[in-house]
Structures are given as structure tokens and as C-alpha cells.
């Protein structure tokens, strides 16, 4: 499992040229699929978006891609999830029962699939399976049964 805090700042390296083609700036989460849809990058020539499916590997020390052309401008689906309103870290967590559970301190995801496996809160942990929505006000998770 990888944490968002560890993933940010990781280099993106092309396997064909061995060049560093960017740096991970943010992870774009799609609450509908409960997974990382794309990486928002910094310091690239061709754009700032790398779709998770275009990644060769999300390694412990670097993210690898086949070539720099995998990095593009954000498509419509990714663009809709960019920006502070859709970030998880630092946001309050509300259960679907309307109770405040605390703030998100970190997010854990499976490097192979990009699936969000857990949300770390100040004093608890919520399974990624419970994620329902990420909005400007709160991250909403299913209430415990």
C-alpha cells in the first residue's frame, strides 16, 4: 500500500529514454470508482495529466511511463475532478448519517490498481470501500451499519 503523502513529489521517468518527464503533484481521485483516476504532474513539457491506466508502474522510488507522450492535457473527466474541492487531505469527513468523523490526514491506495484502500483520519481509519463523495465541504463516507 502506498500513501498519498509518500506518492507526492515522486519522479515520473520514461522507460524508453530514462529521462525524468515530470513530478507527481497531486493524485486525482474519482469517488465513483473509489480509485486514483490520474496524476497531476509538475514540470512537464506536454501537459500536466497522466492517466493512471497509462502508467507502466507506480514504483517505490519512481513512477514509470512508456514515454513522455503519455502525459497530456486533462480530459473532460479528469478536469471535472481537479482542484481543491476534490482533494481529500485536510478535508472533514462526514458519515452518510450526518456525523463528523474528523479530518483526512492521509490516503492509502494500492499501487498496482490505483484503488483507494483506506482513509487515515486523526484518530481512526475508514475503509476506502466506504467512500461516497468528495466535495468542497466534506468527504462523505457510508455510515457503519
Amino acid at each position: 500500500m502506498t500513501l498519498f503523502s509518500e506518492a507526492k513529489g515522486r519522479q515520473v521517468v520514461s522507460t524508453s529514454t530514462a529521462d525524468t518527464v515530470g513530478k507527481v503533484h497531486e493524485l486525482v481521485v474519482d469517488p465513483a470508482t473509489r480509485s486514483v483516476l490520474a496524476l497531476e504532474l509538475k514540470k512537464t513539457a506536454s501537459g500536466d495529466t497522466l492517466r493512471y491506466t497509462d502508467i507502466t508502474a507506480f514504483g517505490e522510488d519512481a513512477v514509470t511511463v512508456a514515454g513522455a507522450d503519455a502525459i497530456t492535457e486533462a480530459g473532460e473527466d479528469v478536469a471535472a475532478l481537479l482542484g481543491k474541492d476534490h482533494h481529500l487531505i485536510g478535508k472533514r469527513v462526514l458519515s452518510s448519517a450526518g456525523d463528523d468523523l474528523g479530518k483526512v490526514t492521509d490516503v492509502e491506495f494500492a499501487a498496482e490498481s490505483g484503488r483507494v484502500t483506506a482513509l487515515h483520519l486523526e484518530s481512526s481509519e475508514v475503509s476506502g470501500q466506504r467512500l461516497l463523495g468528495v466535495g468542497s465541504y466534506a468527504v462523505v463516507v457510508a455510515a457503519e451499519q
Binding site: 469517488p31 478535508k91 462526514l94 458519515s95 452518510s96 448519517a97 450526518g98 456525523d99 463528523d100 461516497l132 463523495g133 468528495v134 466535495g135 468542497s136 465541504y137 466534506a138 468527504v139 462523505v140 455510515a143
Partner: protein, 196 residues
Amino acid sequence: MSRLMRTSEITKRPVVTMAGEDVAQVKDVVYAAGGGAVGGFTLAGRGLFSGPLKQSLAWSAVTALGSDAVMIADESVLEPTQTLLDASAASGGSGGDVLGSQVLTDTGTDLGTVVDVVLEVGDTRGGACDVVGYEIEASEALGTKGTKVLIPLPDTLAASGQHLMVPASAKDFVSHDLAGFGASVAAFRAQLEGPK
């Protein structure tokens, strides 16, 4: 499990969609069915300078009423305020404000004035949101003049906007905090129904 809440705790609470957006906040509670249940909420916008909204929230559209937010599926469940008020009036809701009313027993004793309304919120969608009691500032009759106490209510009661009539026995089921109040409400209602 259902929970007890004061209406004063519900006003200003944010109305949040399952997508995590705060689309409004609760302005006032609208009562329905003779004042015995909550019909819905009128809303105000979020933020310092936003005023009342033209849209309201019917209780049937509320997914959950929690201690920190009122949850709804999405913004489309809001309806024009007039629709909610009409529905409430049609079911016999007074719409009148009970705060400040004097609570009188049917034997003519003044128990105090209403300072808050206590609701019992069912936890599943489709459950009712019932008025189960009032918080009153006690009169001398309760022996604790000036303190705030909770009194349970029968399912229906007469209210005029000035007075609320309760059975004399309500006095025996007064409690001092919400923790013990649920049991008081149940005991009081069981006693009103009489032996089965």
C-alpha cells in the same frame, strides 16, 4: 437506534449532498401533522452574506439527520418553500412558533415557558422525526424555578400560540438531561395509553 435532539441544535446545521457539497443550511424547522412531527426545513444559503433560500427541504427527502449535518442525496431533492408549507398546512400543522408559550396542565398549573423543542429522529430513511417533548424554563410548580427541564409530550396536544395544554401527569416525567429523557418519553406515553 434513534436519537434525541433539540431543534436549536439543528438550525444552522449544514445541508450536505452525498457528493460532499454543502448546498444550504437549516433556517427553521417546519412542523406537520398537528405539530407532532417535523415536516421539513426552510433553508438559508451558506456563508456570511447569504439570505434565506426559496428552496426548502421536505423531511421525506432527508437521507439522514446527524449531529453535524443534514444529509441529502443531491440538490434536486429541494423543493419550493411554498410546496412544503402547503403540505404542512394540509396535514393540520399550525406552523406557529411554540417558543415562549406557557405550558399549562389540564388542571391549570403553569409548568413554565417553552425554550426549545426536543425531537426524536429515526435513523433509517423513511423514519419519522417526532416532537417528543419541550425544554422549558421551569416555574415554581416544578420546585426548580428558573432551571431548564425537559418534559415529554403526548402524541397530540392543544396549542394556541400562547398556551400549550398537557396532562397533569406530564409533571411526573420531567427530566434534566437528554440522556435519561428517552425513557421518560416512553414511560409517559405508556402511562397515557393506560393499562392494556
